[in-house]
């Protein structure tokens, strides 16, 4: 039994082909914005699913233009669903660009087959995605530092306090941080409380890569 996920904009036609083509469709979960046209499209999709006897859940995103928030929510829902239904599919055609990109990101990270529906022909097109653990390209120590910074995003850490927190020599920490900065995973910025100090932060979205 398959569970279909989808992103929905103003046009139900972007999602309907996948609802029709998914064999043994158990359930549909789709994301839409709070725009009136998107809510209209949601009602049409729900009606269509009712006519087919397919349970459907429409999830209204609080901000359809926040890539990280959308990706975080979608990923949480996908992981929860996967616990009971391993066969997941994702139609990423509808919604804002950032909604589609968020869905694409989750499909990449979770290894979910994704499709796109052509705007004019409504043909379903499978996307060439391969699940890769992007966080695996970091060394174990780099990953540990990044995970620590992600978990403590609200706390300002200098290189010294970070080294102390993780029990490593400052020079060793400097080595790990250089690797992380080169990869764009960590950023240095001025401490708002003390402009002389540089503090370290995980770059936006790193939760998704190391989660």
């Amino acid at each position: 039994m398959a569970v279909l996920f989808g992103t929905l904009g103003w046009r139900p036609q972007s999602l309907v082909p996948s609802i029709r083509s998914t064999e043994s469709l158990e359930r549909l979960v789709f994301y839409h914005s709070d725009h009136a046209k998107s809510r209209d499209a949601r009602a049409k999709v729900m009606e269509f699913c009712r006519s087919l006897g397919v349970p459907a859940t429409g999830v209204e995103l609080s901000d359809a233009f926040d890539l990280f928030a959308c990706a975080g929510q979608i990923r949480e829902d996908v992981r929860r669903e996967r616990a009971s239904s391993p066969d997941l599919r994702f139609n990423i055609a509808g919604g804002t660009r950032l909604m589609s990109c968020a869905a694409l990101l989750v499909c990449l990270l979770e290894g979910i087959p994704a499709t796109y529906v052509h705007d004019e022909t409504y043909r379903e097109i499978p996307l060439p995605l391969l699940r890769i653990s992007y966080g695996a390209t970091l060394t174990p120590k780099e990953r540990e530092v990044l995970e620590f910074l992600v978990k403590n995003r609200d706390k300002p850490f200098s290189e010294t306090t970070l080294a102390r927190a993780l029990g490593v020599h400052k020079a060793t920490m400097n080595h790990h941080l250089r690797g992380l900065e080169a990869a764009g995973a960590v950023e240095r910025r001025r401490d708002p409380a003390d402009a002389r100090r540089l503090i370290l932060q995980a770059s936006p979205g790193m939760e998704l890569l190391v989660g």
């Binding site: 660009r97 990109c101 990449l108 996307l127 060439p128 992007y134 966080g135 990869a183 764009g184 936006p204």
Partner: protein, 209 residues
């Protein structure tokens, strides 16, 4: 002196490209967009600002074509220096293709419609690097169905042990990239469509040292 390249997806409104040009320093600008977009007034305005920009026309509704074009631009530009992608302009398909290419090539990517957003791509983390040497060699070599023995012979000639190649074939099978079957009593290995779509990431990668 390395030349910094900015690859930007473009459509019918140059205002989706300009924020990236202001934010991201570059020495060379490459525009990827639909053929109609390159004939539009917006593109002429962009050319008046950047007369030396290179253009790559694509079908902006064909994700595979868009992605391959952007990846080709990345491979060429990386020979000269660092590369960044702006995924803001053009169709949604073009944006997603740029996003996917950025992830698979480990290239910094931005979305600049509204507050600039750096996409969570690890610089330098390429799709190809996630595969061990034997798997990469199979991906390059296996272009159509071939007998297991032929594949083993080809890869052992490159310096891989038989056991390593067998393990690599199993691993690629679990990833959905190769399919094994028996045909007239012989074991046959064939590439899946997904393998064909990622092969370009492995072109030029050396075999076992």
């Amino acid at each position: 002196m390395p030349a910094r390249t900015l690859i930007a997806t473009v459509g019918f409104d140059e205002r989706h490209v300009l924020p990236a040009l202001r934010l991201l320093p570059y020495d060379r600008l490459v525009a990827v967009g639909g053929r109609d977009a390159f004939r539009a007034p917006a593109f002429r305005r962009l050319l008046s600002i950047e007369p030396d920009l290179q253009r790559f026309p694509v079908d902006p509704f064909d994700l595979q074509e868009c992605m391959e074009a952007i990846e080709r631009c990345v491979h060429v530009a990386q020979r000269e220096g660092p590369v960044r992608i702006s995924a803001t302009g053009g169709t949604k398909i073009l944006t997603m293709a740029a996003f996917l290419a950025a992830f698979q090539e480990g290239v910094e990517a931005w979305y600049c419609d509204g507050p600039p957003l750096r996409l969570p791509v690890l610089r330098g983390a390429r799709l190809a690097d996630a595969f061990p040497a034997a798997e990469a060699a199979i991906i390059v070599h296996l272009r159509k169905a071939m007998s297991l023995e032929s594949l083993l012979a080809a890869l052992t000639e490159l310096g891989f042990a038989r056991r390593t190649v067998m393990a690599a074939i199993l691993s690629l099978g679990r990833k959905g990239l190769v399919q094994s079957s028996k045909r007239t009593g012989r074991d046959v290995v064939r590439p899946s469509p997904e393998l064909a779509s990622i092969r370009s990431h492995f072109a030029g990668r050396p075999g076992k040292a």
